[in-house]
Amino acid sequence: MSTQQEQQTEPEEPETQEAPADQEMSGLASPQQQRLQRKEAGRLERERAAAEDDLEEETVHLKVFRFDPEVEAKQEPRFDDFHVPFERGMTVLDALIFARDEFDSSLTFRHSCRQAICGSDAFFVNGRQRLGCKTQISELDQPVRVEPLPHQEVVKDLVVEMEHFYDQMHAVEPYMQQEDLPEGDLEEMRQSRENREKIKMSTRCIWCGACMSSCNIAAGDNQYLGPAAINKAYRFAMDDREDEEIKEHRLRIIEQEHGVWRCQTQFSCTEVCPKDIPLTEHIQELKREAVKKNLKFW
């Protein structure tokens, strides 16, 4: 496909994603507690914005990345400006839909559920991977710059090629492999509440690709499984319902040369995950498991 093109770089570099100060490895706060803290901060921020109230009459200035390999005028990547009337509660996705429906029908982006569960509208917004539907315009500096996910081949405008991401997800054999089922069709494989709690966060992945796009290692090593796929492996490796044998098989997949040892704990994946999955922590835990099993250290 002739869609290969260089990611256009802006004069100023996007903010780099470094390890956050409050490392989640420390175990001081559970993901839920952190979530609640962030919620409180978000609420205060919104209240402040509402108090100023001067956004009400204004328009939002969007700068949206454009590229189409087939249309002559768009073969050279560029940014288009859109001025969209602001409404309270407006998200980046809402603004993009308005721009498309009212100004330019050819503006192209994936989106579907608009409630942060289908994972199709991850974009690079003001220098950070975010879900368009979940990002309030009022919390962003203007102009709001919307670009396709970095380190992914651009198909058109904000649409990126996801095949590589899916391939990596499939590479970890992402399905239950327990063969010994309980007697009787109506008997479940029992799972303790603790074990469910252990894997709960890992099961929330919506395959949006934000983590993969934010990862410097994945950017430089195309074979690296990446945080989403490793998290998927974690989901099964830590599920008690699978036998030890299968767990060992899983660990062998993820401790290969381009597996968990590539991770340099930069936390960028954890930072951008819209579902608050502690990805870096999961990767570290799998490293520890691999060491315990005396598997190879790359």
Binding site: S112, R114, M176, R196
Partner: protein
């Protein structure tokens, strides 16, 4: 041309389950979906999956609750099949690794839901659909089922005998969204439509933007009747600004509804003196709107749903996802404030008429999931019954299409003996027509001299050619009407006049507006000249589908002059069992709809369900 034994159109819960079953039965099966499967709207289901798993519960109770909830418009053979198959099909999901919430002994948890006489809603937090979708996708990956993702199915390839019951479906025409390539997909055994609901016909809906009723519209135009389309479920707890769903699980766990005066109105105003907040969805939706209409709504728009008293620990354990949704989309912290909620379009209970095996009246054409109407939900769907529907009937359609013997179906399909004649309803405009077909191309193909296409390949080639011409026609125009404007007009008309409360004049107004949408569609054009990922083109196709489906909803609502389940009529405030214990069927007949009826089947395996007053 691509060729498989079974082609599944749609990659959500029903489609994935159908594909797994067809694969198990030995078929070479492929999924063709306009999204990637994990992007499907099944992922947004929250509450849970009903199945009689525990002592004290049994399938007969589940069937009884469902029949009562349906306001006696469900067909007993379908409802009993659902209730009988659900336990095993739910445990199968567990065996595939689905992370259900758990009891202390490690068994799966169940909780109370509206209209259920036993807490039989099995759940995984408040994100059951997400887990169900991903588990099914994992199993499809495990089996190596071929998936054509981001391929938009444009039409079905169906023979053109005069009687739809004599027609055969040989495949579909689809285009690769990424490249714009239009191709035929031949199905040796059958096509299974699993494309979900048409929620985008309304402008305040819990449904994804992709829920545009494509499968329903395609089956309808191919000659399959759409059944009971007037029964649109409005969910009582959606966020006012976006339509994002707040699960019934909140009320199942003990959440309380208050009006602006702080009254617990479900009790204090007598809407449901026994079940209160856990009355059936239609009852709660009407109660909320009545509060608003009588001036007791908050900001004249919504009511409050309060779960604070449940405590942070229980909320975080069972409803954590709800906290995130309320925070992200409404800016409300459910731990410290009540959440604003109002009714929103949620589920289309009608759909493509099928029997218990998912089969339609057209040979080789099946449907399952929300797009189908095997008639388990009747006039009102109980919460927690959508997910068992899609696994039970998805599986059955997959098996049957792949040739497995499931026994003779009891439900008849198509315009056959035993149906009631067409309606002579007084319509304000002639529905359908409006010339949409005038611009439809017709390619020449080899026939056997009598006008019938001689073989499947030729039929498919003609269908592919027709879509290529249609696309060329849409993209060849330089000017015209934008699909977005037509869609907006349609959504406004439906929300204004075909909503929770309905009256004759409004329904007629909506029909006239739909007719105007059809006329506007005559001049629709695709501005984006690109073949690459042309969402402009795709949405133009989807908008046509929405017009057809919206019209069947409105027609059904206009002719059914009674009050049943989710269908409330100002002029007719009584359920009329004498005249209306029957399904509304609408067929596309030479460019316009014809309406006819079929009696409800109240006879189950061992007993006959007697219609009773539905009180909660």
């Amino acid at each position: 041309m691509y060729e498989h034994d079974v082609i599944v159109v749609g990659g959500g819960g029903a489609g994935l389950r159908a594909a797994i079953a067809a694969h198990e039965a030995g078929a070479d099966v492929a999924i063709v979906t306009k999204l990637h499967p994990v992007r499907s709207h099944t992922g947004a289901a929250e509450g849970g999956i009903n199945a009689a798993l525990r002592e004290g519960d049994d399938w007969e109770l589940h069937a009884y609750d469902t029949m009562k909830g349906s306001d006696y418009l469900g067909d007993a053979p379908a409802i009993e099949t659902l209730a009988k198959d659900a336990p095993e099909d739910t445990i199968t999901l567990e065996h595939w690794g689905m992370p259900f919430s758990r009891e202390e002994d490690g068994t799966v948890s169940q909780r109370p839901f509206g209209g259920l006489s036993f807490p039989r809603t099995t759940y995984a937090g408040a994100e059951t659909g997400h887990h169900l979708l991903h588990v099914l996708y994992e199993q499809v990956v495990k089996r190596g089922v071929q998936i054509y993702d981001e391929w938009f199915v444009m039409n079905l390839a169906v023979t053109d005998e005069p009687d739809p019951n004599d027609r055969t479906c040989h495949g579909v025409v689809a285009y690769d969204v990424q490249s714009g390539k239009i191709e035929g997909f031949k199905a040796r055994n059958g096509v299974i439509i699993t494309t979900g609901g048409p929620g985008q016909a309304f402008d305040h809906t819990t449904n994804a933007v992709s829920c545009t009723g494509d499968g329903q519209a395609m089956a309808y135009r191919a000659g399959v009747p759409l059944e009971d389309m007037e029964f649109v479920q409005f969910h009582p707890t959606t966020l006012p600004s976006t339509g994002v769903l707040i699960s019934e699980g909140v009320r199942g766990e003990g959440g309380i509804l208050y009006n602006e005066d702080g009254e617990r109105f479900m009790f204090e105003h007598g809407y449901a003196n026994n079940a209160g907040e856990l009355a059936s969805r239609d009852v709660v939706s009407r109660a909320e709107l009545t509060e608003v209409n009588e001036g007791r709504g908050v900001e004249d728009e919504y009511v409050h749903l309060d779960m604070r008293h449940l405590g942070a620990e229980r909320i975080l354990d069972r409803l954590e996802n709800i906290l995130h949704l309320a925070e992200d989309f409404e800016g409300v912290d459910g731990l410290v404030e009540p959440m604003p909620v109002k009714p929103g379009q949620h589920y289309e209970m009608g759909g493509i008429e099928t029997d218990e095996n998912g089969k339609t009246c057209i040979d080789g054409l099946y449907a399952a999931g929300e797009c189908a109407c095997v008639s388990v939900h009747g006039a009102n769907r109980l919460g927690g019954n959508a997910l068992p529907e899609l696994v039970v009937f998805g599986k059955r359609a997959g098996y049957h299409a792949a040739g497995r013997d499931l026994g003779e179906a009891e439900i008849e399909t198509g315009y056959t003996a035993g149906v009631e004649e067409e309606t002579d309803a007084d319509l304000p405009v002639t529905p359908g027509e409006a010339g949409i077909d005038a611009s439809e191309p017709s390619a020449d193909v080899a026939t056997d001299g009598s006008g019938q296409i001689v073989d499947a390949d030729a039929l498919l080639e003609r269908a592919v050619e027709a879509e290529r011409e249609r696309v060329a026609h849409l993209m060849g125009r330089d000017d015209g009407v934008k699909h977005a404007d037509i869609r907006a007009k349609l959504q406004q008309a439906m929300t204004q006049d075909v909503n929770v409360f309905r009256e004759e004049e409004g329904l007629k107004r909506a029909l006239r507006a739909i007719k105007e949408c059809r006329e506007m569609y005559q001049d629709v054009y695709v501005e984006d000249p690109s073949r690459t990922f042309n969402t402009d083109l795709q949405m133009t196709y989807e908008t046509r589908n929405l017009i057809d489906v919206a019209e069947t909803i409105t027609l059904g609502a206009l002719v059914r002059n009674e009050f049943r389940g989710a269908h409330w009529r100002l002029e007719n405030q009584e359920r009329d069992d004498e005249n209306w214990l029957k399904h509304t069927l609408i067929s596309w007949n030479a460019g316009k709809p014809s309406i006819w009826y079929r009696p409800v089947i109240l006879e189950g395996e061992d007993k006959t369900y007697e219609p009773k007053i539905r009180s909660y």
